[in-house]
């Protein structure tokens, strides 16, 4: 509790005790009636002086129609009409509600900030005598070697120069599996060093490091307001004057009409009803709970490694119905792997693969790399003699004294090798030994493990249409589309064509539907910004993606997309619940009070009670997993 809140709590306790004291006196003694009315003013001023002061200042600064004004008018009015105890009680409950709401909001705020508490306080620099000096990360120049001890957070992005360790990236990605690093590996600030001592040469200044960018992004996210939030702000601006007008009408018109009709003027009753009406109408429940819900939703999402750049994007994501994917690196791993080995008769798979890998052992081509990765045992490069690369065909190499050919069909044709054509989608490597065909190896970019499941979940949560856009050839695109089960695909696209397709898909959907584009941030920037919601994956360390996208997935786990949609929907559902609940209860109470069925106590519930319930409901967004 802050000092101010403690102060309020004391005032609540003191005035509650005094109020009860006055009520007891009133029951047990028989002093003149006015004495109690004067006595009750003591707790009233203790509890309500700040509200009265703000109300007066508001009037002076022409900022009437806020909650202070409503409360001051209602309680002062009630006391003038002789309902002194009720007047004080209303003010008391109002303050209790306000305090409670402040505590709840403060707690949520802190728990989200704690979640985002990845800001490193210092960086260690080794001194000449071997001791470590702690310095402000802001002051570390690029290229400095910093020391990260076990249990410490890496303060600045850099490259490991010494030491092995496993890193905990949970705070950044929500991924609990530690990441192993060794000298030469890039490390990202914000990760926690689990066990070994690391020396890291920084590659960026602190303010451009991942951790600073993320904090900046999250802190600014609540600045971009959702439509629902803007609606409430506008709503409050129209609503409060409208309610005050109605209350005035309620205080004047019925008694005058009834009076003229000869049924008695009864101003007191109607003024009191009008005051009750005023208390009920206070819009705080909405004004407080809606931003809180969005803030909680964004906080919950970032705990899962999903960074949402603003409430408006969370809101849009909830209506996602068309999702467009990039292929390489998004649906697939973006890494080539051997997917099929077809040896010729009399040859084993291992033999074929080993020959091809040895022949390609000096090549840096991704295909060669994938062949080498597929061989289980260590390759002995000394077995390889002269190697001749034949551009556009493959390689001719001497392995164990034999002539090995490894390459495409054209290479086989060129050397007159009789081979069995392989029609599979992907890159095909044919191999031959001394002019005799050994078989073929299919190399493909493989799907991520959870792609199929993620797409199924997206369908299950109501994504109407999934589209894959790729620059790859028709055959490879068709294969991936078939495996993943996307609704449609378009292949052979240049980056500009992708934008055209997004335009076309945007036109084909209804206004209410939202189109999301998911890409890995490489060459995707125009498309990411053209889509309603641009989602960049695997953005850890990629500045371009963080800039261009609206939602950033810290790792490249595609299953985070349906999760993000679910979080957005839940958040929006809570917002709608609060809007309907608060406006509903208030409307009912307003009608009841106009007809005299609701007294001040109802009014206090309709104001403070509804607000507290709405705030509690909003804090549910924090618990989203």
């Amino acid at each position: 509790m802050t000092k101010r809140q403690k102060n309020t709590l004391m005032r609540i306790i003191v005035s509650a005790v005094l109020l009860i004291g006055v009520i007891v006196l009133e029951k047990t003694t028989a002093w003149p009636a006015w004495t109690y009315r004067v006595l009750v003013l003591v707790p009233y001023f203790i509890i309500g002086h700040d509200v009265l002061r703000k109300a007066l200042l508001g009037i002076k600064n022409r900022q009437v129609f806020d909650e202070n004004f409503l409360m001051a008018t209602a309680t002062v009015g009630a006391m003038i009409l002789g309902e002194t105890t009720e007047g004080v009680a209303v003010m008391l409950f109002y303050q209790i509600g306000e305090l409670f709401q402040q505590l709840a909001v403060g707690r949520s705020r802190r728990s989200i900030s704690a979640l985002m508490d990845i800001r490193p306080d210092y960086a260690n620099i080794e001194q000449e005598d071997g001791t470590l000096e702690q310095v402000d990360p802001d002051e570390v120049e690029t290229g400095t070697v910093i020391v990260v001890q076990p249990g410490e957070r890496i303060p600045i992005d850099g490259v490991v120069v010494e030491g092995n360790s496993s890193l905990n990236t949970a705070a950044l990605t929500g991924e609990s599996l530690p990441r192993e690093v060794m000298p030469g590996d890039d490390v990202i600030s914000g990760c926690v060093n689990n066990n070994g001592l690391l020396k890291v040469r920084t590659t960026k200044p602190f303010e451009e490091s991942t951790v600073s960018r993320i904090l900046d992004l999250v802190e600014n996210s609540s600045m971009k307001k959702a439509k629902a939030e803007n609606f409430i702000a506008k709503f409050a601006r129209v609503y409060t004057p409208a309610v005050c007008g109605s209350a005035l009408a309620l205080a004047v018109i019925p008694p005058v009409v009834l009076g003229l009709a000869g049924q008695g003027w009864n101003f007191g009753t109607w003024v009191f009803r009008a005051l009750t009406f005023l208390v009920i109408s206070c819009p705080c429940a909405l004004v407080v709970s809606i931003p809180l819900s969005f803030f909680g939703g964004i906080g919950g999402a970032s705990r899962n490694g999903i960074l949402v750049k603003g409430s408006n994007y969370l809101e849009a994501l909830a209506d996602a119905s068309v999702v467009v994917f990039d292929k390489t690196g998004t649906l697939t791993k973006g890494v080539f792997e051997v997917t099929e080995i077809i040896p010729a008769e009399g040859i084993t798979s291992a033999e074929l693969l080993e020959c091809a890998a040895l022949a390609e052992s000096y090549s840096t081509h991704p295909v060669a790399k994938s062949l080498r990765n597929a061989v289980e045992k260590q390759l002995d490069q000394s077995r390889v003699g002269a190697v001749e690369e034949i551009a556009g065909h493959g390689v001719k190499a001497e392995v164990d004294g034999h002539e090995i050919l490894a390459g495409n069909a054209r290479l086989m044709d060129r050397f007159g090798v009789q081979y069995i054509p392989n029609e599979a989608a992907g890159t095909i490597v044919y191999a031959a030994r001394d002019g005799q065909f050994l078989g073929s190896v299919t190399i493909n970019d493989v799907l991520k493990e959870d792609t199929v499941e993620a797409l199924r979940q997206m369908k299950a949560c109501g994504i109407r249409r999934t589209v894959m856009l790729t620059g790859d050839a028709e055959q490879a695109a068709a294969a991936v589309a078939g495996q993943t089960g996307v609704d449609e695909y378009h292949s052979g696209l240049l980056p500009a064509d992708k934008v055209d397709w997004i335009e076309k898909l945007l036109q084909e959907k209804t206004d209410k539907e939202v189109l999301c584009f998911v890409g890995d941030g490489i060459n995707d920037a125009p498309v990411l910004s053209r889509a309603d919601v641009g989602i960049a994956m695997g953005a850890l360390g990629s500045d371009a993606a963080i800039e261009a996208a609206d939602i950033v997935l810290m790792d490249d786990d595609i299953a985070k997309i349906p999760k993000a949609v679910m979080i957005a929907r839940k958040c929006l559902r809570i917002v709608r619940e609060n809007v309907v609940f608060a406006i509903g209860v208030k409307l009912i109470c307003l009608v009841l009070s106009a007809f005299g069925y609701a007294n001040m106590w109802w009014a206090v519930f309709a104001d403070v009670g509804v607000m507290v319930l709405a705030v509690l409901n909003a804090t549910r967004t924090l618990a989203m997993k």
């Binding site: 802190e219 609540s222 600045m223």
Partner: protein, 72 residues
Amino acid sequence: MKKTYEIYVDCANCAQKMEDTANKVEGVAKATVSFMTQKMKVEFAEGADAPAVMEEVLKACQKVEPDCEIKL
């Protein structure tokens, strides 16, 4: 030029009022107030003197919301 200031404001409605007020101050191109992070982000107009503008913003905000604070 953009700058972020820490603020103290005790209700969301008040934060909204501060935002509206700050946006009316001369020299402010765009101001946003986040109740949740208790921060005010101000984009100053071309050639505006930030500290002087912020004095005005603070004055104007305290007029509509006597309890608010801005750490300048």
